[in-house]
Amino acid sequence: MDFCKRHFLVALVAVLGLVVVAYVGVKANLQVLFGVVAPYLAALLFIEGLIYRVFKWLRSPVPFRIPTTAGQHDSLPWIERTWEEKLDNPATTGHLVGRLALEVLAFRSLFRNLRSELLQDPDNPEGARLVHWSYKWLWLGAIAFHYAFLVVLLRHLRFFTEPVPGFVHLLDSADGFLQFFVPVVYISGLVLLAAATYLLARRLYNPALRYISLAADYFPLLLIITIAITGILMRYFYKTDIIAVKQLALGLVTFHPQVPPGISPLFYIHIFLVSVLFAYFPFSKLLHAPGVFLSPSRNLATNNRRVRHINPWNYPVKFHSYEEYEDRFREAMVEAEIPVEKMPPPEEEEEETPAPAAKAEKAPEEEEG
């Protein structure tokens, strides 16, 4: 089996395996394990893992100020910069906060995305030319996915709170504004499923993406898709005892866990997969969420020449000192009327300086700068 198939199938089998485990477990009356132990364990792993990983990053210093500058720099006062340029090349803390906010909330860099293609072009002597066009589908898919996920998460607060806060009700009605089907269909759930499916489909159908994708890329997508599907099934088609579910959820957050009867296995599958997702988070690429805040090419102000950046492990290096240099070339420098620190003693004037020819070492056609 080839690399791509193997990685996809491993992820698929893993997710299906988790579903089966939860189903069999519930059938064997292990509700406490999947409804209580797994969520607690996941929460613990999520929080501790996240702290551990972020601290692990923070332990390594940022020796150099290396932001990617994506707009005109702040140099001469009369050169006007647009607000975009100020955020893309942020010289002040305020602009830096703007840059990060735009990156985190609006996926600024992904919004820039282009697609480059080699087009057949009979007018061109080589028969083809490169074109680069704006390509926003990935941005759209990613932003839809993340925001839908956020809304879905927040909506779930209604299970964990009593009374339910006002904003959750508001979100609820906004999400269900289309008012079709009974119960009312939430847009966010559909968008989440659609966007995740798109992200998976591009991995499978775009040859370059299929080539680079690992099991670790398919697994979270398949997991989230399965979570969305189980959630949707539960809400619209195979309804479970919602009061009991809320009792269970409230029990979890108030640390009085209980497993009320009458909850369907579908629910346990759902909550188990969510638990796995949270537990998996700190040990996977999902860490990109906190990572983007710490990325040295994005989270540093571009005041490089204005304020000195300190490297905590900066150490002295051996370099060729001027004294050594002059000692070696003194006679030749004097002869060429280049000023020197020390004049050579007169008796040495006759001596020839062993000065290798300047350009002999390299090909003369081209040179570097």
């Binding site: 390594s60 210093p61 020796p63 150099f64 100020r65 290396i66 500058t69 707009g71 005109q72 720099h73 702040d74 001469l76 009369w78 010289a91 996926f107 860099s109 820039r112 282009l114 080699l118 002597p125 080589e126 028969g127 680069h132 066009w133 990935l138 591009r202 370059a208 080539y211 680079i212 670790a216 890329d217 040990f283 690429k285 860490l287 990109h288 983007v292 990325s295 090419s297 994005r298 571009t302 020449r305 204005r306 900066n314 370099f319 060729h320 001027y322 240099y325 070339f329 030749a332 420098m333 060429a336 280049i338 000023p339 300047a358 350009k359 070492e361 390299k362 040179e367 570097e368 700068g369």
Partner: protein, 545 residues
């Protein structure tokens, strides 16, 4: 040297379809024209680099030291501890593929391992295998693989197929920067004695003598004095040059490419004309005679060792501040590394233009100003008398160099200068997706100017050349200006291959052409001895005499 295929043969052969075989099973093929030669032992000895030996890239046995694997893994651990960037960039990539078609080497070769994401995976897979539990336990299915000699050869092949241009980092949603991984990966290769000839020769020469080209002080003076004579011949103005002059106000540091070979030399003539016009109190240094820094293409440490000379020399000469010439990676280093490496430069003053009085607050700490900032400020204050019609024979486009674009952001200054020194309508930008922060690399940056590497360089330069061709055909562009000496060294070859009839120039050369001196002889040619518009016949007449 192998001859590269012709454009019409090369281009149709590029396909972005990945091969059927998985990337972990594919080994690079060291075909002539697609790799850089191994460094000769003598250069390594000059700079005290470890594991000196004579070897060839095409050898089966690279004569690695017996403990090479431990050296690499310990080096990797050490760098993970010292660079948050590396740790983070290894951990957070989601392989979304946004970077894939942003790399000029991918666009020019179609080799999937030139997609930045996969180039990073070459190193990341080893990181997972030795530093991550999942990788240790699950191996390949967790994206991990053993560090073998083949993997090391692959690192060499692809890390020297990245020009550290950072275009991928611009499009990455998390700012993952391949350049950072390339720099650190090359450090690891160096630690087991794997270096490339072109870069290491330049580094050793620069370390020893003062410039990449290995010019002795007297040779450097010879070359630059010649430009003063050339200026006098063409313009009637003698442009005095000062070397190692103590007490000068400004130390000027330029890349050696600008005094070594055409067309960079014309840029240097432009610098000299400008300084003479302003009656500037300046000096060059033969010791800090190199603004460029090929050390940075080997390791952070070697970059620092070469760069140290600039502040040391500024201190010895007692100058007030430093002015820097047109060079790409030199300016990434000045902007993002120099002060951290070798500062604080508290013996210098915040740069003030002696002509306009402008205080360059943006350089308050490094005390170093870019020649384009300096010139743009002069023009803005009306201090230069310029005659753009002397550049009327030039239809210009501007190439943003990767380093000054994504490691600094100097976009407007050179364009402002250009608009003032060429007639209106004679400057056109290339398509927006190929300039400014989205600019494409020349394909030969980060130490790849070697002849033996020509085919890969021409492939890597395809996206740049393709955009030049567009403005050449559409607007009749016949010159490309840049503020980078590597560009001036390599773009003529590249354009000659893909878009013949477009020449390469520096921005300061354009300034030199347009600058009107009092008492100058009437100019009939530009700095390259080509007749100005309206003087073509006069030239011919002279030749007839």
């Amino acid at each position: 040297m192998s001859k590269p295929p012709k454009p019409a043969e090369l281009l149709p052969g590029i396909s972005y379809q990945p091969p059927a075989q998985g990337w972990m099973d594919l080994k690079p093929e060291f075909r002539p024209g697609t790799f850089c030669n191994a460094a000769q032992p003598k250069w390594m000895e000059w700079i005290g680099y470890p594991h000196v030996r004579s070897w060839k890239v095409t050898d089966d046995d690279w004569q690695l030291p017996p403990d090479w694997k431990e050296t690499i893994l310990e080096g990797l651990q050490d760098r993970l501890n010292r660079f948050r960037s590396l740790k983070l960039f290894f951990d957070i990539c989601v392989r979304c593929g946004a970077c894939a078609d942003k790399c000029h080497f991918f666009l020019g070769t179609g080799d999937p391992k030139n997609m930045p994401v996969l180039r990073a995976e070459l190193m990341r897979s080893v990181y997972r295998r030795y530093f991550k539990t999942a990788g240790r336990l699950l191996g390949e299915i967790a994206g991990a693989r053993d560090l073998t000699e083949d993997v090391l050869k692959e690192w060499f092949y692809y890390l020297y197929q990245c020009t550290e241009c950072r275009r991928c980092s611009l499009f990455c949603p998390y700012g993952i920067d391949m350049a950072e991984m390339t720099i650190l990966g090359r450090e690891l290769l160096s630690s087991v004695g794997i270096n490339i000839e072109w870069t290491l020769a330049s580094v050793a020469q620069c370390y020893d003598k003062g410039s990449h080209i290995g010019a002795t002080p007297q040779a450097m003076k010879d070359m630059i004095d010649f430009f003063a004579e050339e200026n006098e011949r063409v313009t009637g103005i003698y442009t005095p040059v000062h070397y190692n002059r103590k007490g000068a106000e400004i130390l000027f540091v330029a890349p050696s490419g600008d005094y070594f070979a055409d067309p960079g030399t014309f840029t240097f003539m432009g610098y000299l004309l400008l300084f003479t016009y302003l009656d500037l109190d300046w000096t060059l240094s033969t010791y800090a005679g190199e603004g460029g820094n090929f050390g940075y293409f080997m390791s952070h440490e070697m970059g620092k060792r070469l760069n140290a000379k600039i502040y040391a020399e500024a201190k010895r000469l007692g100058v007030k501040w430093i002015l820097g010439g047109e060079c790409g990676h030199m300016w990434r280093i000045i902007n993002q590394y120099m002060d951290t490496w070798n500062g604080p430069a508290d013996f210098l003053e915040v740069p003030v233009s002696p002509i306009t009085g402008t205080k360059f607050e943006n350089a308050a700490s490094t005390k170093m100003v870019h020649i384009s900032e300096f010139t743009a400020d002069l023009i803005h204050h009306g201090k230069l008398k310029l005659d753009p019609s002397r550049n009327a024979h030039i239809k210009l486009t501007f190439h943003d160099s990767c380093n000054t674009s994504r490691g600094m952001g100097i976009f407007e200054e050179p364009r402002y200068i250009i608009r003032n020194v060429v007639p209106e309508g004679n400057f056109v930008d290339m398509p927006p997706n190929t300039i400014r922060e989205r600019t494409f690399c020349c394909g030969s940056g980060s130490g790849f100017n070697a002849d033996e590497y020509l085919e890969t360089r021409l492939r890597g330069g395809l996206p740049r050349a393709n955009a030049v061709r567009h403005v050449h055909e559409k607007y009749g562009v016949n010159h490309l200006a840049c503020i980078c000496a590597i560009d001036r060294a390599v773009l003529p070859t590249l354009l000659n291959y893909w878009v013949p009839a477009v020449e390469v120039t520096g921005v300061s050369e354009m300034v030199g052409n347009a600058l009107v001196f009092e008492g100058e002889t009437e100019r009939t040619t530009d700095l390259r001895d080509r007749p100005l518009l309206g003087f073509e016949e006069a030239e011919e007449g002279e030749e007839a005499e």
